[in-house]
């Protein structure tokens, strides 16, 4: 899966959790939790969904590397490429 496909997947998972969010309005370098009003349960569900779809393990210690859309895509691309 390339970066573009991972970005699309991340956006799909985010809008699945927050259906009111317009994907084009997501600012790629702004904190996702603040921007989309994700609480820790939303964020955990987001991690679970990505882990399942990409078949990668995302430890809790790596959450801080997934704070923005861009950071999320970069980090996940790295995890996928190491598989």
């Amino acid at each position: 899966m390339d970066k573009h496909e991972i970005r699309q997947l991340v956006i799909r998972k985010l809008t699945g959790i927050a259906p009111e969010v317009d994907p084009v309005q997501i600012v790629p370098d702004v904190d996702l939790r603040a921007q989309i009003d994700l609480d820790s349960m939303d964020f955990l569900n987001f991690i679970i969904a990505l882990s399942k779809d990409l078949k990668v393990d995302i430890p809790e210690s790596q959450y801080s590397r997934m704070a923005t859309l861009d950071a999320c895509v970069d980090h996940l691309s790295g995890l996928v490429s190491k598989k």
Binding site: R33, S40, L44, S51, D57
Partner: protein
């Protein structure tokens, strides 16, 4: 015969609209089984039956809006013989129920045509807010349509209903409950370390959130402070034998609901996490059950994720206490004369002074603190 009535899902609920029956006359029904879906200010609620038997009669039809307490169905309990049908029209049953509500202010009969009332209900507009222009002030279909045109559409209507429901409950609380407030700061360092180590060995699906540790600590503490776990009803305190923790869950688009995790003191952290996730998911998709909304014996609200450090909560009547948690933050903290950086969190108690006093409230918060210092035993 048992009467299945429109439940009161909180102090703010006055009426509900039947969306669908999930059982037909003659069907068997077990205690706890969902038999109807009802639309309320809190969304669509799955209503459970509180007796085991056979559905004898369904007394209202989908689309009917009736006050809390109205008999919706008759359930023939196990071992009972069938009885002749109760041919009481829905209008008469509603009027009977309204007249039973002796505590409620007198109901002034509204001059509104049946068509206009039906349209107003379908649009979520309270007919009492409509200015009638017909003969003698009667509300016409045109009046409803004109009012609807001036109100926001779509989710706005639902949001307004939720806001109105919250307004009623909070106004009642502040008017009737003499609150007292206590606060303390809890060292969460042990808890957060234990949680990080525990989650390290778990897949994402099995991970815990620190919120479930707060729920468990409150639930266990309530065993020793039963006066904070219950209701103020008919002028006296009533303690609950069950510890059902209501969780304030914010809804996307505004508003909140506070459904319960039943018997929270008896659940493991994993069971609490599963129940917590399930409740949040169903609260936000509008699929809560009646018992979850009517059964909380205390409420927890946690606003730490919004950056709030201290919560001064308002009790949800008829409950008698609410516990608030703020954000976990790093602070300089001295232990045995040694200063270090610790993770700490402010906890607060809002309690009904008719039922408990500050001394017991303070001991309750102190016990929650002690329980959180030994997370492995939660």
């Amino acid at each position: 015969m048992a009467e299945f009535v429109m439940p009161a899902l909180g102090a703010d609920m006055e009426a509900g609209t039947l969306i669908a029956w999930l059982k037909n006359p003659g069907d068997k029904v077990a205690r706890g089984e969902v038999i109807a879906e009802i639309d309320t200010d809190k969304g669509v609620i799955e209503v459970e039956c509180f007796t085991t038997g056979i559905v004898e009669q369904l007394l209202i039809k989908p689309g009917d809006k009736v006050p809390v307490g109205t008999v919706l169905a008759i359930i023939r309990e196990e071992g009972e013989a069938a009885k002749p049908s109760l041919e009481v029209p829905i209008e008469e049953r509603v009027i009977r129920e309204m007249s039973r509500k002796v505590d409620a202010p007198p109901v002034e009969r509204l001059k509104i045509s049946p068509l206009a009332r039906k349209t107003a209900d379908s649009l979520g507009i309270d007919p009492r807010t409509i200015l009638g222009t017909g003969p003698g002030g009667r509300i016409t279909q045109e009046d409803v349509e004109r009012t609807a045109a001036t109100k926001p559409s779509g989710d706005g209507k639902k949001g307004e209903r939720i806001r109105q429901a919250i307004a009623v409950a909070m106004e009642k609380s502040k008017r009737e409950i003499p609150h007292y407030y206590l606060g303390t700061t809890i060292d969460m360092t042990n808890c957060m370390k234990w949680l990080a180590a525990e989650n390290l060995n778990r897949s994402a699906e099995g991970r815990l959130l620190y919120g479930v540790m707060l729920i468990k600590a409150v639930a266990l503490a309530l065993r020793q402070f039963p006066e904070l776990n219950g209701f103020w009803q008919d002028g006296k305190a009533v303690q609950s034998p069950e510890i059902n923790i209501g969780l304030a869950i914010s809804l996307r688009g505004g508003g909140l609901v506070s459904p319960a995790i039943h018997d929270a003191d008896q659940k493991s952290l994993d069971e609490l996490m599963e129940a917590f996730r399930d409740l949040v998911q169903r609260a936000r998709s509008g699929r809560l059950r009646s018992s979850e909304l009517s059964d909380p014996t205390i409420t927890i609200t946690s606003l730490g994720e919004q950056g709030v450090e201290t919560v001064f909560g308002i009790i949800y009547p008829p409950q008698v206490a609410l516990v608030g948690f703020g954000k976990v933050v790093e602070r300089p903290w001295a232990v045995n004369g040694l200063l270090g950086v610790h993770q700490v969190m402010n906890a607060s108690l809002s309690a009904d002074h008719r039922v408990s006093d500050g001394h017991r409230g303070g001991l309750f918060l102190a016990l929650i603190d002690r329980l959180l210092q030994e997370p492995a035993y939660l």
